[in-house]
């Protein structure tokens, strides 16, 4: 019986990279979490473009009478389980990974927790140096981490009744609010030029999940 020897594996790194992932991301902070699957609307303005989970803003905005006129390319999530259009109870968890592939602009929000019609409650934004900061108050969330070409993992845990929000960046606690407002909330991801922001960005989100308990 002839035995044919398989060709030598091409490259270890490539082989590892090709190994199929059979695992979806799970929740962090152990507990009786249930995965949620809110639907979403795509919102664009002033030349912003959305292609799947890739969001881009141009360097020079084309005039577009939309919303408040700020350039944006986002997903607005809605229809949360146990909450209706927005969520107003429970402990809500978000996780996702973003990678900036190009950034010629500055001070652009990547992730928002909106407080219903009251406007944004928490906005995670990036400066051109790669510094992540909270738009509300301007405090640094992580300096220099959001460099071009590098993935950054974001986990948020929002306890509506306890009025707390925790934001983790690459597994480490990066922001805490123990005095969060009440009301109804929803999530947005993508790219939104803040009032002090400018210019272009292309950012890809991946592995986006929601849970509740």
């Amino acid at each position: 019986m002839k035995i044919r020897v398989l060709p030598v594996l091409v490259a270890c790194a490539a082989l590892v990279g090709l190994a199929p992932s059979a695992f979806a991301a799970g929740p962090v902070e152990s507990g009786n979490w249930t995965e949620d699957s809110p639907s979403y609307d795509v919102q664009t303005c002033q030349g912003g473009k959305v292609n799947g989970l890739t969001f881009s803003l141009p360097s020079a905005s084309a005039f577009d009478a939309c919303g408040n006129g700020a350039p944006r390319a986002e997903r607005r999530y809605r229809n949360y389980s146990g909450g209706g259009t927005n969520y107003s109870s429970g402990v809500r968890q978000f996780s996702g990974t973003f990678t900036i592939s190009s950034m010629g602009g500055n001070r652009i929000s990547l992730k928002q927790t909106f407080n219903g019609d009251d406007g944004p409650y928490f906005m995670l934004a990036v400066e051109k140096t790669g510094r992540l900061y909270s738009v509300e108050g301007g405090g640094t969330i992580n300096s220099g981490i959001a460099k071009v070409g590098t993935a950054v993992r974001v986990n948020t845990v929002h306890d509506v009744q306890a009025h707390t929000l925790r934001v983790y960046i690459n597994g480490s606690l990066a922001y805490t609010d123990n005095n969060a407002p009440g009301g109804a909330f929803y999530d947005k991801i993508g790219a939104y030029k803040t009032s002090s922001g400018s210019g272009s960005i292309t950012v890809n989100w991946s592995d986006v999940h929601f849970w509740r308990k």
């Binding site: 398989l6 695992f23 020079a60 950034m103 690459n170 606690l173 272009s200």
Partner: protein, 229 residues
């Protein structure tokens, strides 16, 4: 007969996979309720650096946690998500670097770098000539050359270089501040990229820049720990 070949093939595949992810002694130890310390043996002398990665599930995608020098053998991951699994691996990075170029951003008042796509990573047409393999240890011709770096306004730096590699996994852009602060990987670029702009951090306003054509080498086995409350 086909069943025997299939089983033999499966055995060879498993052995091959085991060789790719050799046990490199990566250990994860919980040193506090929400702190994990990682240790591992030193990388080969020929390594450019190492990439430490993590994830919170047993499978799925890893996220880069830190780009570390080749002689790094430990890392502390702190203020972690409580009651959560953490899985880690270390990947060795090999390749060749350019020479360094120093840039000092202008001080005082002056225009900032303009808005626009000047900073976007690009692949400009390369001059004619052979491309070389980074994996050929005897041939240094695969490293990037002709690195050019210049200030753009008061807060940007534009870089371009000549790409000579044909099998890189990408390019790393390294920044070394003149004030002795730590070297930083400022960008991770795809294969074939030979032009990019960056905005240095404040401590990097006078700094040296270097690009490295790189490929990933051996990957460690995965180490796991669970944080406390």
């Amino acid at each position: 007969m086909s069943v025997v070949r299939a089983r033999l093939g499966a055995v060879l595949l498993v052995l091959g996979l085991a060789a790719c992810t050799a046990d490199s002694g990566l250990t994860a130890t919980r040193t506090g309720s929400t702190e994990i310390r990682l240790t591992w043996p030193a990388a080969p002398d020929t390594a450019l650096g190492q990439v430490l990665e993590y994830r919170n599930q047993a499978g799925g995608e890893f996220t880069e946690l830190a780009f570390l020098p080749a002689n790094a053998t430990s890392y502390t991951h702190s203020e972690l998500i409580p009651r959560t699994d953490f899985y880690y691996r270390v990947r060795t990075v090999f390749g060749r670097e350019s020479t360094s170029v120093a840039v000092a951003l202008p001080t005082g008042s002056g225009p900032a770098a303009p808005e626009g796509d000047w900073a976007a990573p690009r692949s400009r047409p390369s001059p004619p000539g052979p491309r070389n393999s980074l994996r050929d240890k005897e041939n240094s011709g695969a490293g990037p050359t002709d690195l050019h770096a210049e200030a753009v306004g008061t807060d940007g730096v534009h870089l371009s270089w000549t790409d000579h590699a044909r099998d890189e996994d990408g390019y790393l852009l390294e920044v070394t501040p003149a004030n002795g602060s730590a070297v930083r990987v400022a960008a991770v670029l795809g294969p074939g990229v030979n032009e990019v702009g960056v905005y240095p951090l404040e401590q990097e306003h006078t700094a040296s820049y270097r690009v490295a054509a790189f490929y990933y080498g051996q990957t460690s086995s995965v180490a796991h720990e669970t944080t406390g409350a």
